[in-house]
């Protein structure tokens, strides 16, 4: 029982801290805003259609028409619309990779931490092996195996980014399983799964949230690099593809596509970073300074 009260305190305490910190709140709102834009774009409610010609090739930004706020690309398509759809891709990459990575990290971490012994050895061996291989090479290899396209981007990034979470969860679960409340639960006859999921997990769940903010931005960055390497999203306007296009554009004085995509990405990652930090301070009492 004590666990629940403690948990609620932690969360409500964190919420108060965040709402008090105006800057963090602003970041939170920004992130939600990105999410909203992504959802609206996903359901075709804004910035549709993005792939039609709205002006000449490489038209500079102008305030005349909202299509042209960020200028046009080689085919005269609106860069603003492409940035918005890039947001949709980025958010979906962040979300989907988290959906893949978090359950893997949580399950393996919890199993290893709770049962110890050979299960622990196996899990530790597996993730040590994975981390020994340079992450970028793993990403590339998986992208090759899966073929190109957004699904393989999800899987490649998801499958390579669960290790950090697994480590943390493993350590936390190890700590918690010796605690009184768990021992008490087990003496009352609670099964392993109920001990793990009902008793321990709620107490380590804040780590998952913290990991999520990190996971999200790692995923977005990785997508950019994969796209640059030609292994990323195909036929859709991702930020990575747009930045890659800029290679051919800068010396023609076409700076708007690079600027648009970079700025969109920069603001999102900045917000995630700051919000993540605040969250960490609020949820992880160890680092409080």
């Amino acid at each position: 029982m004590s666990a629940f009260i403690k948990g609620r305190n932690l969360w409500s305490d964190a919420w108060i801290r965040i709402t008090k910190d105006r800057f963090a709140l602003l970041c939170f709102i920004t992130i939600v805003g990105y999410g909203l834009v992504a959802i609206l774009a996903k359901f075709g409610m804004i910035a549709m259609p993005w792939d039609v010609t709205v002006g000449g090739s490489y038209q500079a930004p102008s305030l005349a028409d909202h299509h042209l706020w960020l200028g046009t690309d080689l085919f005269g398509r609106s860069v603003l619309y492409k940035v918005i759809h890039g947001t949709r891709i980025a958010m979906s990459v962040g979300l989907m990779t988290s959906i893949i990575a978090i359950p893997i990290g949580m399950t393996l971490g919890a199993l290893a931490g709770y049962f110890g012994g050979w299960i622990d050895d196996l899990v530790v061996w597996f993730y040590t092996t994975l981390t020994s291989i340079p992450n970028i090479m793993l990403l590339i290899a998986i992208a090759y195996v899966m073929g190109r396209g957004i699904t393989s981007v999800y899987i490649a990034i998801g499958a390579t980014s669960w290790v950090g979470l697994a480590r943390v969860i493993r350590a936390e679960v190890m700590k918690h399983k010796e605690r009184d409340y768990v021992l008490a639960a087990s003496s009352l006859g609670a099964s392993h799964s109920s001990r793990i999921f009902k008793h321990i997990m709620p107490n380590v769940f804040h780590q998952v949230i913290l990991n999520f903010t990190m996971q999200f931005q790692t995923a977005i960055r990785s997508e950019v690099i994969l796209s640059y390497l030609g292994l990323g999203v195909q036929g859709q306007p991702s930020w990575g593809v747009m930045i890659d296009d800029a290679k051919l554009e800068l010396s023609r004085q076409v700076w708007w596509q690079l600027t648009g995509a970079t700025l969109a990405m920069f603001i999102l990652i900045l917000a995630l970073n700051i919000f993540g930090d605040t969250l960490r301070d609020a949820l992880d009492p160890k680092v409080k300074t």
Partner: protein, 311 residues
């Protein structure tokens, strides 16, 4: 302690096995078929079969795995599909340019980050600390590709301060080419480094013995430099040592953009030409270096810090 070290060394064997298995499965089984590109534009089916045989692509999988293990042991990774050069030689030739870029960039970045972190931690909570932290977060948040493109366009193309790209071997000649990529390296990795170092120092500041020392009336500067610094070096050194093996892979985006013929651009070329033998070799070599690097740190750690016991 020696038992621990021995155990730690032996533990690298299953890890190496795991790495070789994963790398083999990922690169060997799915490695694209290079033969069609290699036979040229007027090719015939008979020539293709002949080439596949020469490349050993018609062997059974366990045989191919054994062949790969042999490659790891003998460090003879065969020849590249695309350039037809021996891969061992390509790696040793590419290591030079990579290291000329990576080592100075790495050392300068680490030292600068450490100095900034020290100042920032010393004045924690004050304006300068906040300023450093904010700069770090901002620096970390911009995509590195944008730094590269911007640097190349503005500094090299517009103002002509640096050569746009290229490389010349030899000591003074190489510097002008690596200056800008090194500078971008600095900007890109500074944020994360400073933050990590600062946190490591601060964590030590909160330890009980520091409070005791302070309460005993020791001067803040003495406490800071004599105790805090010394002890916070352990996580910092670990962090730095772990990064070293990755230097060889180089900042491969940097190398490829600036035309530095190092291992990084070699890897990018290999990606663009599905040159799986090269990718496999690079992955393996890097993994092994990483395993050795962590091994060295762990052993160092036990020697330096007697508090560490097995697990």
């Amino acid at each position: 302690m020696f038992a621990y070290i021995l155990k730690r060394i032996l533990y690298t064997i299953p890890i190496l096995f795991g790495v070789s298995l994963i790398v083999f499965v990922l690169f060997h089984l799915v490695g694209g078929d290079p033969t069609y590109q290699m036979v040229g534009k007027h090719s015939k089916a008979e020539q293709i079969a002949q080439l596949r045989h020469e490349l050993g692509l018609d062997q059974s999988l366990p045989m191919q795995y054994l062949h790969y293990v042999k490659q790891i042991v003998t460090f003879d990774y065969g020849r590249s599909y695309a350039t037809k050069q021996p891969i061992g030689e390509m790696i040793s030739r590419g290591a030079g340019p990579s290291l000329i870029l990576a080592i100075p960039a790495f050392i300068i970045t680490t030292i600068a980050a450490l100095l900034i972190a020290l100042v920032s931690a010393y004045y924690r909570g004050r304006f300068i600390d906040k300023f450093v932290l904010i700069s770090c977060v901002i620096g970390m948040s911009a995509p590195s590709l944008a730094y590269i493109l911007f640097g190349q366009y503005v500094l090299a193309y517009k103002f002509g301060i640096f050569p746009i790209s290229g490389f010349e071997a030899g000591f003074p000649e190489a510097l002008s080419y690596v200056a800008m990529p090194a500078f971008i390296w600095l900007v890109v990795s500074m944020g994360a480094d400073v933050r990590f170092f600062r946190n490591a120092i601060l964590e030590e500041t909160n330890q009980d013995y520091v409070r005791t020392a302070r309460s005993k009336g020791l001067e803040e500067k003495v406490v800071y430099f004599k105790h805090v610094l010394k002890n916070s070096m352990i996580p910092i050194v670990t962090y730095v040592v772990i990064e070293i093996p990755f230097l060889l892979l180089g900042a491969f985006l940097l190398e490829s953009f600036f035309g530095i013929p190092g291992l990084g651009s070699m890897t990018i070329d290999a990606i663009n030409s599905s040159d799986f033998p090269v990718l496999k070799a690079m992955t393996t070599v890097n993994s092994i270096l990483f395993i050795l690097g962590t091994l060295a740190t762990d052993i160092l750690y036990t020697l330096v810090d007697p508090r560490v016991s097995f697990k």
